[in-house]
Symmetry: C2
């Protein structure tokens, strides 16, 4: 009999999630049935969307999220003992899963796949640069922003898991890259990562900064955060500029019926004939492996750095989560169980 | 020697344009040079963009805008006396023009073309349903919203020159059409025009109304106005919905450095993977004639009504303009000189 632990979300969050919005539940796992495998969690992920989807779900529910586990027992011959597996089973230390994909395309999704071939890199990358955030950076940026060599790219939430990758991919594609982040330390770190320009959005006048470093306008804007930064960028774009919206972190803590007001974006969209498109990575599961192969190649040949912000201990997941929501991470926030 | 009159914009507008922001100037036209023609204005147009572009121009400048004139004298054999011509020479009673297109693609543009073949319809339609607004409605709606039969289409500024055409084109394409306008009289008028549903945005809860009449979400949103209506619509769209931004009337009277704040749209764009695109009709001059041919056919066969709101008299153009900006017009606002 295996004892398992998991975090259960017991409340609809009011503003920032609170520690006692989660309950840690201990329970006995039942014996495996045919087709099932038992995983022991090694790494798990905290991401902004965990906050966002809370608004659409009815607690109590198990806190979902990507994690890497190792097969401890198996009744599915495709997954022998010792195999590493990526699932969306979230904040738990052991879990029983089956190899099925749920019909639904939104979290909490049921979906498992074997760890991609990481060529010796840490398995934790399967939660970041070679996981959902990597696939998002690669597919959303290339498909929606359609960057061309010589163009100027702006990235909000640039020091986060997705943003830090997008800036580097833009450099690989021959673009000039401008990043926005929330502290001076992150600004310094972004420049070390290879961003041409980086600004602390809390202290800079974004319009003035962009007029200086992008006098011909931003061609591609990769938007993780929404809010006032995005309005500012959208009034400093070139004709026919492309905006990819992959997140709206700035409003995730707000009541969805009482969203914040920000400077209107329609005149910016209109007069520069911008194309603005929302991107949800769950809709593109068929292309993750394609993205992973390229991302691993770039990491191995040194063109792409994949920094991680590691928290250790099952008991510290909440702190890792709230720290990430508060912007404390440089790169991908992961938890080593 | 021909005496001519024109309206000159003498101030940068502060909020709604004021009567004394315009000066009526009388002057003597010089003799024609080779390639020039002298037009006597018959109809002229007042449109929202005349307000919007003021922010980008340095007064004093002649108030541009579309107008239909008849050739009175000519030194261009392509335009014999009596020919009717559409120009962008604006608020004047006589004007000398040449058959050239300026390189610039933004107002004030220099561009003339012979009156389209209106098959006996009023020449004033060349300023509306068979003019720039008609080309906008046809090209922007079909190219960006890509409506499919059976889909639900929402239109803001629905009783205006462009919106009233878009709703009818959507009906021709087999869509369900919902219109938003600013008075109960307009709502009634929209239903007479064939809109399935119409609402007074000043008195209705848009979210509630849309949940009722578009329970599966709006597939196409044709946005003339921007602002809070647009935020509300964008949170009630179907997955992959298309938003065409052709105007942002709600903010045209505002200082462009002090734009209004409205409910953030990025979460709506993100979670429904919307495609939002700005459309500027000046970029599509090569396709106006194609649009005109279809629009005339639809008007002649009774599928498209082209209502006009006619003001008479050169001295009343300002009143027609401010009335249009205040939403007093039902359909296209034109002035008969």
């Amino acid at each position: 009999m295996v004892k398992a632990k998991k975090y259960v979300v017991s409340n609809t969050f009011q503003g920032p999630p609170k520690r006692d919005d989660f309950k840690i539940v201990e329970y006995d796992l039942p014996p495996l049935k045919d087709g099932e495998i038992l995983l022991k969690t090694e790494w798990l992920s905290v991401d902004p969307y965990l906050r966002a989807y809370n608004s659409f779900l009815q607690p109590p529910y198990d806190q979902f999220g990507f994690q890497v586990g190792v097969v401890q027992e198996t009744k599915d011959p495709k997954f022998p003992v010792g195999t590493r597996v990526v699932t969306h089973k979230g904040w738990c230390d052991h879990v029983i899963v089956k190899d099925v994909i749920e019909k639904t395309s939104e979290p909490p999704i049921e979906w498992i796949y074997k760890l991609p071939d990481l060529q010796g890199l840490s398995a934790s990358l399967a939660l970041g640069a070679v996981g959902m955030p990597g696939a998002t950076a690669y597919l959303a940026f290339l498909e929606i922003c359609k960057p061309k060599s010589g163009e100027t790219v702006a990235v909000s939430g640039a020091a986060g898991a997705v943003g830090s990758l997008v800036g580097q991919i833009a450099k690989i594609k021959g673009c000039k890259v401008i990043g926005f982040a929330g502290t001076d330390e992150k600004v310094k770190w972004l420049k070390e990562l290879g961003f041409d320009e980086a600004f602390n959005y809390k202290t800079v006048n974004i319009q003035t900064a962009l007029k200086e470093v992008a006098p011909n306008g931003v061609d591609c804007y990769f938007d993780n955060v929404g809010g006032e930064i995005s309005s500012s960028v959208m009034y400093n774009m070139s004709k026919g500029g492309r905006v990819c919206v992959v997140g709206s972190i700035s409003s995730y803590n707000d009541d969805p019926t009482q969203l914040p007001k920000v400077t209107i974006v329609q005149p910016g969209i209109l007069f520069k004939q911008l194309k603005v498109e929302g991107f949800i990575i769950w809709e593109h599961k068929d292309r993750w492996q394609e993205a992973f192969a390229v991302l691993v190649k770039w990491i191995k040949n040194g063109h792409l750095k994949a920094p991680e912000h590691v928290t250790t201990g099952f008991g510290n997941i909440y702190d890792a989560f709230i720290g990430m929501l508060n912007g404390e991470n440089f790169g991908k926030a992961v938890v080593k169980v």
